[in-house]
């Protein structure tokens, strides 16, 4: 993950929603537009490599460590919101 992003995602002024969206746009290299509709394998960059970058970004942004079951269940932007809730992160 680029250093600039690490710094940015930890800014207090960002809402969880903004941080969450940032994780997707940075890890999957996609524009913020339409990010809510993203699904695993739905875009070329969200393959198994992109998936692990996304997981790393989420873990870093919210200071959590996800279980393997949640990593495989992280199949869409929407689904991820429910998963974040399990870790006490309200998006």
């Amino acid at each position: 993950m680029p250093e600039a992003f690490r710094h940015e995602s930890r800014k207090k002024s960002m809402t969880n929603k903004e941080k969450y969206i940032n994780c997707f746009t940075q890890a999957l290299e996609v524009p913020a537009e339409g990010v809510e509709k993203l699904e695993y394998q739905g875009v070329e960059s969200w393959d198994s490599v992109g998936h692990m970058s996304l997981v790393a970004a989420l873990e870093d942004a919210f200071g959590i460590q996800m279980d393997t079951d949640d990593i495989v269940d992280l199949s869409s932007f929407e689904k991820g919101i429910a998963i974040m809730k399990k870790y006490g992160v309200e998006i």
Binding site: D47, S48, T68, D69, I71, V72
Partner: protein, 359 residues
């Protein structure tokens, strides 16, 4: 019971009667689905004789030889829905199998792999040292079976480091770096059998070195034929790795690209286990009838996951022996077995075997 239900239960929790009932119903449905969506598969199953009412258990499902995927492009969904085509790791001159995977099948395969593996190494993710070169996964659009296996297991890990350089030399700097960060806690080590033998063990031996990987669970897979041809048994392999790296937790597995995800992992008793997602049936070569426990036969594999291609019941080119069902001392339910070799005329094609063919 839907596939989602299977994903919510322990992957080794179904006893034989219940499993047979669930598999029979799911595999019957899959057979009907593939007959309706893949003309070549319908022709074959017509020829084999298909009677859905006669299906009482998983062994009543018609099976096709795994080789069919080499000679035919078999798929049951529109090509536009295929997001990756997996190829078997055939050596030069051999035809490769082409397996067409859509999003649903791919996700379920990944889930099954993780569900099964985490039953062996725990739900908590651990750092992983991969005994391979990062080059194997460099090209994201063109994964070999070897790269796919690495990426599939990568999800079990918090952090992954590669132990070999692009030239397939032991990267001591990378290994030392990994060990200084994680060497004193439990971690995962993954590599294909031959890679671990040749690039880790032999390389250390030639350098006169040892490494402390004593906290590692070593996950291996991808074929033993090369090592068998060098007269190295499973026990000799484990003894050698233990003496040079201190590893005492070994998890080998059996699996194939035609049924990715449904791996058969080896418990501490040395038995390969079938999970709730799949099963093995040993068949007599004379008439394909089912072997008794303890009798060597050709391994048939069935899996409830293949949706985009008709690969839910396949006769492999491997031989094995069913050792028992539901009563392994490790506590896992389901069948447990061992692989005894490959059919004489069959090709060399395990992931590490095809790599090893170059040595």
């Amino acid at each position: 019971m839907t596939n989602d239900d299977l994903f919510s239960i322990n992957p080794f929790s179904l006893g034989s009667d219940e499993k047979a009932r669930i598999l029979a119903s799911k595999l019957r449905e899959l057979t009907e689905f593939h007959r309706g969506h893949c003309a070549a598969y319908k022709d074959v199953t017509d020829a084999l004789g298909w009677d859905p009412d006669a299906v009482k258990s998983q062994s009543d499902i018609p099976f096709i030889p795994v080789r069919m995927f080499k000679n035919h492009e078999l798929l049951s969904v529109p090509r536009s829905e295929i997001f990756k085509t997996m190829t078997s790791s055939g050596t030069t001159g051999q035809r490769v199998s082409k397996i067409f995977v859509d999003r649903q099948t791919g996700m379920e395969q990944q889930k099954a792999l993780i569900r099964i593996m985490s039953d062996f190494v725990g739900k908590k993710r651990l750092p992983m040292l991969i005994i391979d070169s990062p080059e194997v996964v460099r090209n994201r659009s063109m994964f070999s079976a070897r790269g796919a296996a690495i990426l599939g297991l990568r999800m079990l890990a918090t952090e992954a480091a590669y132990a070999l350089t692009p030239e397939m030399e032991l990267d001591l700097e990378a290994v030392d770096g990994f060990l200084s960060r994680h060497g004193d806690g439990p971690f995962l080590c993954f590599g294909f059998t031959f890679m671990v033998w040749h690039h880790l063990y032999e390389s250390l031996r030639d350098k006169g070195m040892k490494l402390d990987l004593s906290r590692a669970h070593l996950i291996t897979g991808g074929g033993w034929k090369k090592l068998v041809s060098l007269n190295i048994s499973g026990k000799a392999f484990r003894d050698a790795i233990h003496s040079s790296c201190g590893i005492s937790s070994f998890i080998d597995h059996y699996g194939m690209v035609e049924q990715t995800g449904c791996i058969y992992a080896q418990c501490p008793c040395g038995h390969l286990h079938a999970s709730v997602f799949s099963d093995v049936i040993m068949r007599r070569p004379q008439d394909f009838s089912e072997c008794a426990i303890g009798e060597e036969g050709i391994i048939e594999v069935v899996s409830v996951l293949p949706h985009s291609y008709p690969g839910h019941a396949l006769l492999t080119e491997d031989q094995g022996v069913l050792l028992g069902e539901d009563d392994c001392p490790c506590g896992r339910k389901g069948k447990y077995f061992k692989v005894t070799g490959r059919l004489k005329s069959a090709e060399l094609r395990g992931c590490s075997d095809t790599y090893a063919a170059g040595f």
